[in-house]
């Protein structure tokens, strides 16, 4: 049965679903990259994703409009980001702990709303496959990359976009300056608070989409705690990717491929207990953190609140 893994159809299947599964990681981790580059560790990603996932699902079911679902998830994520920004920038709360607070809040609220408003597990008709013209007809490559839903394409397009914004624009320069040396940035007239508000809200918005990509594109259901640690892995991916969008992409692909492999192993009935298989991405995260963190330096001001000297 192990040999089944190496047949062409299965390999293509593993790769294609690996690409698909990278979507939520990408949205969340790219958003987190912006936050961390500006010096803020947002550990509430998981909570933002859960609320985004619920909102998108609920709105999609009520209105039948998937884009409206994504938009609402973005708004909810942005509002969560706004709250996080207020707490970390204005109130200078310890970022690691307040993030856990936001996680618990999102976890509880999404579950509460789900039980109260929907009650039963339903499915929604999520984003359909959208075959890119010409490209999707390519043998193998087309099947792997270009027969995905639209949110997958957007998530991959986000990577070069994020790279461009961070490295080639004034805004990106300001973000990096605020994360490396807020005092200097401040003395040059950059508003540290405004930049951090911007990045945290952007992070929340993208986490919201990450949640939506789970509930109305990948799985097409909502369940309590459906992210099961995905948001935390996204934060770890930012470390793994050395705070660079393309590094994050590499990490997201690695993870989603391992996950996809794990799922296919179960589908094919290869006798590895599913619990052990599910463990793999988490063990991999730890190993990856061990290897990557000693390699590169984090933004200097990460987790440090900025106090203007009066």
């Amino acid at each position: 049965m192990i040999s089944d893994l190496f047949s062409m159809t299965v390999l293509v299947g593993i790769l294609a679903s690996g690409i698909r599964l990278a979507t939520p990681y990408l949205y969340a981790a790219i958003g987190e990259t912006f936050g961390q580059r500006s010096g803020v560790l947002n550990l509430g990603v998981e909570g933002q994703m859960l609320l985004g996932a619920f909102t998108a699902f609920y709105v999609a079911i009520q209105t039948g409009n998937l884009w409206l679902g994504v938009l609402s998830a973005m708004i909810v994520g942005a509002v969560m980001g706004l709250a996080m920004a207020f707490v970390t920038v204005n109130l200078q709360a310890v970022q690691g702990i307040s993030g856990i607070g936001f996680y618990l809040f999102g976890l509880g609220l999404s579950d509460l709303l789900f039980q109260r408003v929907l009650g039963t597990v339903e499915t929604v008709k999520g984003f359909p496959k959208f075959n890119l013209p010409v490209l999707s007809d390519l043998p193998i490559v087309g099947e792997i990359f270009f027969q995905q839903n639209i949110l997958v394409y957007i998530s991959f397009a986000l990577v070069p976009l994020a790279w461009f914004v961070l490295n080639k624009t004034t805004l990106g320069l300001k973000i990096r300056a605020v994360g490396e040396n807020p005092e200097a940035a401040d003395s040059l007239g950059v508003s540290v608070a405004r930049i951090r508000y911007l990045t945290i809200i952007l992070g929340g918005t993208l986490s919201g989409i990450a949640g939506a990509s789970l509930s109305i594109a990948l799985l097409n259901v909502f369940q309590q705690n459906m992210t099961s640690g995905l948001g935390f892995i996204a934060v770890a991916l930012v470390y793994f990717g050395a705070w660079r969008p393309f590094g994050v992409l590499g990490g997201a692909l690695l993870f989603s491929l391992v996950n996809s492999l794990q799922l296919w192993v179960q589908v094919l009935g290869i006798p590895i207990p599913s619990d052990i298989a599910v463990m793999m991405p988490y063990i991999l995260t730890i190993l990856v953190l061990v290897i990557s963190v000693s390699r590169v330096r984090a933004p200097s001001a990460l987790t440090k609140p900025f106090k203007r000297e009066e």
Partner: protein, 386 residues
């Protein structure tokens, strides 16, 4: 340090008042959420209170729920004081419970007075192991402990479901089609004594005694002093000759050990077997997270964590009643706990401001004193280094 005692008294009062205001604020937000869900918040909170304190049994259940929160919270006091953020209470509880349960399942012919203490120690050790791994990774590989402990949680959950569905499954369940993931029941003489007719068990008392011991550990022993010192200023501690890495590991080992104890006590005091519903929090009831909330609420002070645990135990027990009476899912309480965390850490800013003011005033008094020591960070959690 010589401060006017009146100032101290006032400061203590504020320290106690801040988390209470934070909780009130969370409850008010909760009330708004209830209103939006078309539920009368007064009715809901009345049901919650009734469920938590309304009868002897309710009160006992509250204490039963408070016990793991206190134990996990004690560990959190140790690690957070050492500036090590242990989010791994869930996994540490699970591993402690697994190893502790093994003792009871294997030593069936041994007397209870031997097995029970041994099992508790095994749970302690299991938690220490699961906390020690992220500790080593942080100390020697600079791996962020928040992330590694979260991953260790997920690994422990999978390990548990694997063991409880496979190697450790109750032989009786293995025969059935339902295959509930649970171990066999412990022998009757292995159970922690209970205060009949309630489920309140000896573990609650042990936890309170341990709270006093943790207080002594943190403020009356060299280990405790060094853990706190590393937490407040690792550079200065290293300069003073403290092996900073060792104390980072120690903080996580001890923190995990207390969570492990919480886990094994759920088995020997409450369920008499290890059981889960397959979900991530099926065994722990999220005590690994809620213990953090309790410890933060208790100002990261072991004795303050006692009433804090009772409060959050009450919220959890009351939430079940609330769910029955006004049909509000008990998940509301998870959301409220999250808000309490956010509000408590946010309210720290007022404490820091006050400390800065006090420091400035002191400095003005003793003119010419070197002004560079930034006491605000050192006294972040109100800790004083002796």
């Amino acid at each position: 340090m010589s401060k006017p005692s009146q100032e101290n008294w006032y400061a203590k009062l504020i320290d106690i008042a801040l988390p209470i205001f934070a909780t009130l604020a969370a409850l008010i937000v909760g009330a708004v959420m209830l209103l939006l869900l078309n539920v009368n918040p007064i009715e809901a909170y009345a049901a919650l209170w009734e469920g938590a304190f309304g009868s002897q049994n309710a009160l006992a259940e509250t204490l039963v729920k408070a016990t793991p929160l206190l134990l996990v919270g004690l560990g959190i006091c140790i690690s957070f004081r050492g500036d090590v953020i242990n989010i791994g209470g869930e996994g540490q509880m699970i591993v402690g419970a697994i190893i502790g349960t093994q003792v009871g399942l294997r030593m069936v012919d041994s007397p209870g007075w031997l097995v029970v203490p041994l099992a508790l120690l095994a749970g302690f050790a299991g938690g220490a192991l699961w906390g020690g791994i992220p500790g080593l990774l942080k100390a020697y590989f600079n791996v962020n402990e928040i992330l590694s402990t979260v991953m260790m949680n997920a690994i422990a959950v999978q390990l548990m479901t694997f063991l409880l569905r496979g190697p450790m499954i109750d032989p009786a369940q293995a025969e059935l089609a339902s295959k509930i993931p649970q171990t066999a029941r412990l022998m009757e003489n292995f159970r922690l004594p209970r205060w009949i007719p309630t489920r309140l068990h000896l573990g609650a008392l042990i936890a309170v005694v341990l709270a006093v011991l943790v207080y002594i550990l943190l403020w009356r022993t060299t280990w405790g002093y060094r853990i706190r010192s590393v937490g407040q200023n690792p550079d200065a501690s290293a300069y003073a000759g403290i092996q900073v890495k060792n104390y980072i590991v120690l903080a996580l080992v001890l923190s995990g050990a207390f969570a492990g104890l919480a886990g094994v006590m759920q088995v020997y005091g409450v369920n008499y077997r290890m059981i889960t519903d397959g979900s991530g929090s099926g065994f722990t009831g999220r005590a690994g997270f809620n213990g953090i909330v309790a410890a933060l609420f208790g100002q990261l002070h072991p004795l303050g964590t006692i009433p804090a645990s009772i409060l959050f135990g009450a919220l959890l027990v009351g939430a079940n009643k609330m769910q029955r009476v006004v049909q509000v899912p008990s998940a509301l309480v998870i959301a409220l706990n999250g808000l309490v965390v956010v509000f408590v850490v946010s309210s720290e800013i007022w404490r820091r401001k006050r400390q800065r003011r006090r420091l400035a005033a002191e400095m003005a008094l003793q003119e010419g004193a070197p002004g560079e020591s930034d006491g605000s960070e050192a006294a972040h959690y109100g800790g004083e280094v002796d």
